[in-house]
Point group: C2
Chain length 223, copies 2
């Protein structure tokens, strides 16, 4: 293994450890010792632990959102004016994820797990950062989903969009563990793209499920 520079070694190691144990549970001392760099290196190169966490995300998400934007441009130009089917929107997202060259030395699933962590693990500053940096591209995506499912009531689509997101993020974030189980139980190797190809019809069918009638409850014990 060729010796990378200090910054890259820190980023790779931090990414891996954050994905394994979470942000608060991973100390700078663990990171720097595993990365074989001096403890002070993190504060020297990144400024603080918070900034390191953000840098880990930025290294992946910056090129990703750039590519995803381009792919959405392409998709829209291919459908000049015509409405874009939901499946096409979803596949644009997933192929971007799958085909993007990873700036990381860790696998795709490591970063996926990280994204899942970022989503749940409140970490106030993290949510704010992701919102500020990548809110607009997320908005563009949801807008396309909206046009692709214009038959759905707004409220219904709102929730289904998050059901969809949940399936994706959750599965991706525990992908390594799940792949191991699947390979052990069914004796066949599973690739990331296989999981994604299974995910699309699932969420796609979910999005066009019949709309439920909400049954009001007689007693009102929760808001």
């Amino acid at each position: 293994m060729a010796q990378l520079d200090t910054v890259s070694r820190i980023l790779d190691t931090a990414e891996m450890l954050f994905a394994e144990k979470g942000f608060a549970e991973t100390s700078l001392r663990t990171i720097t010792s595993k990365a074989k760099v001096n403890l002070a290196a993190v504060n020297y190169h990144f400024g603080s632990k918070k900034a390191l966490i953000q840098a880990v995300f930025a290294r992946y998400l910056d090129p990703f959102s750039k590519r995803f934007n381009e792919e959405m441009d392409l998709l829209e130009s291919r459908h000049q004016g015509q409405s874009i089917p939901l499946n096409a929107v979803l596949e644009t997202l997933t192929t971007t994820v799958i085909t993007m060259p990873s700036p990381t030395r860790n696998g795709l699933s490591v970063f996926m797990r990280l994204l899942g962590l970022a989503y749940t693990q409140a970490q106030g500053h993290m949510r704010r950062y992701l919102q500020e940096q990548y809110g607009s591209i997320f908005y563009r995506f949801t807008s396309m989903v909206r046009s692709a499912s214009s038959d759905l009531p707004d409220v219904e689509r709102f929730w289904r969009l998050h059901f969809m997101l949940g399936s994706a993020v959750f599965t991706m974030s525990s992908l390594d563990a799940l792949k191991d189980i699947a390979e052990q139980d069914f004796n066949e190797q599973t690739r990331v793209r296989d999981v994604v190809q299974r995910l699309i019809p699932f969420v796609s069918a979910g999005m066009s499920a019949p709309i439920p009638e909400l049954i009001p409850s007689e007693h009102q014990d929760d808001a």
Copy 2:
């Protein structure tokens, strides 16, 4: 508000704070000061912070899994021998969740967020604890899902089961935030049971989606 005993005050406050900030990010000093009990009370009554975390889960999950087991007994006895439809299995789970009297002074959504946290936020000891304590009831549930979707190939069902789980866990874990957004955007208050009633048709449709043909890729760049 009637003054509860020390143990309950600690449990309620811990549950709330854990759900808000995560486990590692919530210190015993924050918990005890908000609960208006002495710092040493946690170690006196629970032994350690880890034990407190487990106690928070046990207080909810013990009665829950007891009830859920009973409901599954009932469901099976009602379908003596006949196969149970998937929707019935899912609805048994959700009605158990919704109708269960909460041992908590916090709302259902607080605990849901906590469950989501527990699932993603690895916390080695937590995963082990949940697996040991509640693994068998989870296995019983998945077995019922299997019989209720016997037309699906095993591999396909395996992944779809986790897609389903993902939708549920993720939505529930960010339920409060999502409810706020929904209420602000659509000007109507959403109850936990409404979200669940929306979730069922979504995952149900996903489970019976057409089975995709996996397209092999020409170049093999990921495992």
